[in-house]
């Protein structure tokens, strides 16, 4: 585990060192090329801005209204129907939030971990779920938006399917590992 943590710590400094030095040795005009590449960063940022704002406004209005609690309440019976313990229901807000918003999900996960305790079932489950999937909906809109794709075809369904599998496996593996 320590090795992986060390690699994460060193990865960026090493890339910052090795790429320019090796490029220079290969006769690349390093500074000029860097600037030329960096210019694209600005363009991309501007291009994704409307998608970011569109998504964040809709997600923000939804989350701040408290609708999440109501939707979670509705979904509770479904959770029971799928054969999960009703104690698991506390995880529903996080499961809904996870594909929508990274900071929102982190907020919900932090709240769950503090409320139930980090080493409780819900605490461990929230931690696992938080680490195991990405903000599918958000990534899709921004990534597709940045290159002007309007028709996503089956991309969203596939991403959400992966999230659902992540949720189910999280519940299963946490129960299996710790209890």
């Amino acid at each position: 585990m320590r090795i992986i943590a060390e690699i994460s710590r060193w990865a960026i400094p090493l890339l910052l060192l090795l790429i320019p030095v090796l490029a220079y040795l290969r006769n690349v005009p390093v500074y000029e090329s860097f600037v030329a590449g960096a210019e694209e960063g600005f363009k991309t940022g501007v291009r994704i801005l409307p998608f970011l704002i569109g998504m964040l406004v809709s997600i923000g209005v939804f989350v701040d209204s408290g609708a999440l609690d109501i939707v979670s309440h509705w979904l509770q019976p479904l959770f029971g129907f799928l054969g999960f313990d009703s104690n698991f229901a506390a995880i529903i807000p996080l499961a809904i939030m996870r594909p929508l918003s990274g900071s929102g999900a982190l907020g919900v996960a932090t709240q769950l971990i503090n409320q139930y305790g980090p080493d409780s079932f819900i605490g461990r489950l929230a931690s696992t779920l938080q680490g195991s999937t990405d903000t599918t909906f958000f990534v899709l809109t921004v990534y597709f938006g940045s290159v002007g794709i309007k028709k996503y075809r089956y991309a969203l369904k596939l991403g959400l399917l992966a999230d659902l599998i992540g949720l189910i496996v999280s519940v299963w593996i946490v129960s299996k590992t710790f209890y």
């Binding site: 569109g54 998504m55 964040l56 939804f62 680490g131 999937t133």
Partner: protein
Amino acid sequence: MVNLIWLLMLVTGIIVSALNGHIENVTVSAMKAAELGVEVAIELIGVMSLWLGLMRLAEEAGFVKGIARLFGPAIRHLFPSLKPDSPALGAIIMNLSANILGLGNAATPFGLKAMQELQKENPTPDVASPAMITFLALNTSCITLIPATIIGVRLKANSANPTEIIGTTIVATGCAMSVAIIVDYLIRHRRKK
């Protein structure tokens, strides 16, 4: 589907706020979110310029192609529509590596770069290509070896063992990613016939 979800979140949020008697929340949330969008984009412009600058150096020195050639065989069969030395493969590999290492702010620029490269090989510019969908499925379900943020949260909440969730996280992501890859593969093959 995106249009519908977008509208549904917005309408639900407004109705629930109205029913709760806090309709003014809608105004505040909407304005705040719009501002946040600009903040995120501007922050992203910073890190993105940095990484795309480095990426350009790596490209001109031939490293991106090198990486694509080195690791390409492992993921190439997931992207049968791409040329074997496609620059998109290099960016995809960089994005996935950054994700695996948990370097979120490096992952996004590489990912957007990968999308641009994939778009160049996309015959229908406003419709997602199969390669893009495969890439996004990998990207959103990608394994993070060290979920550093959540470990930090657990540490602060006085967990007896903050890192104990690494194993369960890897299993959960691993399964999600496998299913995504398999289903994607099946969809692509069925559509080809």
